[in-house]
């Protein structure tokens, strides 16, 4: 089949595919050419979903700890005035670990993007002689860096959100002081 004939006979399919798989537009412009970026985006979405799901174990620890602040008096629950809520950081434990792990996975993705240029051919030769100096770096690093940044941002936001919830559900008299310092000490 000649180029022209093949082009015309497959025009509709080609246009439909080009719209989704362009290497110069959309996400296709930010990953190595020909890479299955849809699959990668799916894996990244899975990593975020699992990280979020795993982080929910914080609530299990939080509400168990909150329950232990109360004494059962018949049908009622009375706050034990001497009880102290465990520190936020102790309740949080490794609930947010999925996000830094996703960020680490993004570093592996960066390496994979680079070595992709050696799979099945040496497309690295083409990438290294493009007039745009940063094209190779841009295409290898964009998605992994975005993923890592989004993962760390999500971890930060969830940390703030979960801490807010911790403060909200913990009776003031049961809060021990210096919570921020304790979080900061762990983060450091």
């Amino acid at each position: 089949m000649s180029y022209d004939r093949e082009t015309s006979s497959a025009k509709i399919h080609s246009e439909a595919r080009d719209a989704g798989e362009s290497v110069t537009r959309g996400i296709g412009n930010w990953v190595p050419p020909g890479l299955d970026h849809r699959q990668e985006v799916k894996w990244i979405a899975w990593a975020f979903s699992l990280s979020l799901l795993y982080s929910l174990r914080f609530f299990l620890a939080l509400f168990q700890a909150r329950d232990s602040l109360f004494l059962q008096a018949g049908a009622e629950k009375i706050l034990d005035v001497n009880a102290v809520m465990p520190d936020f950081i102790l309740l949080l434990r490794d609930s947010l670990i999925g996000f830094p792990m996703t960020a680490l996975g993004a570093a592996a993705l960066l390496a994979y993007h680079y070595f992709y240029h050696f799979q099945g051919s040496k497309s690295i030769y083409l990438m290294r002689r493009l007039p745009r100096r940063l094209e190779l770096v841009r295409r290898c690093a964009a998605l992994p860096l975005l993923t890592a940044a989004a993962a760390l941002l999500a971890a930060g936001l969830l940390l703030a959100l979960y801490f807010g919830i911790y403060l909200l559900v913990t009776p003031e008299t049961c809060l021990s002081s210096g919570q921020w310092d304790k979080i900061w000490n762990v983060l450091r």
């Binding site: 022209d4 290497v23 799979q119 051919s121 083409l126 002689r129």
Partner: protein, 247 residues
């Protein structure tokens, strides 16, 4: 003019290129010949800036940088295309990065070699992959087209077609620097032969000079490499002698 001035390159202290001086002028079709490991590929990779080297390489007086690299294209038997992309997607990519991309030539060559436009290259045969690699190099819009054994794996008819097409489409300003083992095939196609041996340029002659001196390219190569013509008969004789002794 692409000029190599005193270019040397070594791998872990082992010299691969030794003080190479070479000039490629516009419009030349230059064959680069040498045994395996002679330094042909290393020489091409140094021109493209893939390998660090000692000496200087200039393109019209300027070092080869990102500013002028688009004037050099490269076709290699290792292939530099993206196997998961279609030919059409490659065209799109090249058009974006190489403003002088020759779309008409690309379509013409795709049509001539009957290559499918919308099939991922990984599904191409080896011969088709080689053809496409060369098509990209010829269509980039480069003034200097470097080729490293581009036809390895292609059948003889296919290669012959390519030489003819190449001669027909090249413009006077386009220069081809072709590294190959296929001496006899390219003899009538090249305008100059450069011989490299153990990293040194040991021969450089135009085909006109060869013709004037009454030599063939093969003869020139054998002469330069001091090929011992009785080598095979002597080896066979020795082997046969051994066999007779064994019997």
């Amino acid at each position: 003019m692409l000029k190599l001035n005193n270019v040397s390159k070594s791998y872990n202290g082992k010299p691969a290129l030794k003080q190479v001086d070479l000039c490629l002028s516009p419009g030349e079709i230059v064959g680069l010949f040498g045994e395996n490991g002679a330094g042909k590929t290393t020489l091409l990779k140094c021109i493209l800036g893939y390998l660090p080297f000692d000496g200087g390489i200039t393109l019209d007086g300027h070092p080869v940088t990102r500013a002028n690299i688009a004037r050099i294209s490269f076709a290699t038997c290792e292939h530099s295309f993206f196997p998961n992309l279609t030919a059409a997607a490659h065209r799109e990519f090249y058009e974006l990065h190489f403003p002088a991309f020759r779309s008409k030539r690309f379509h013409g060559l795709m049509d001539f070699f009957e290559l499918p436009a919308n099939k991922a290259l990984r599904h191409f045969s080896t011969g088709q992959k080689n053809q496409f690699e060369v098509i990209l190099a010829l269509s980039q819009g480069a003034d200097y087209i470097l080729m490293d054994e581009p036809f390895a794996g292609n059948d003889v008819f296919n290669r012959e077609d390519f030489y003819k097409v190449l001669l027909g489409i090249l413009e006077p300003s386009e220069t081809v620097f072709l590294s190959t083992h296929l001496l006899a095939e390219v003899e009538n196609f090249i305008s100059r032969a450069v011989l490299i041996h153990r990293g040194r340029i040991v021969g450089d002659m135009t085909t006109q000079e060869l013709e004037d001196s009454g030599r063939t390219l093969m003869g020139y190569v054998k002469e330069t490499y001091q090929y011992k013509s009785d080598r095979v008969s002597k080896a066979l004789s020795d082997l046969t002698g051994e066999r007779q002794e064994e019997l």
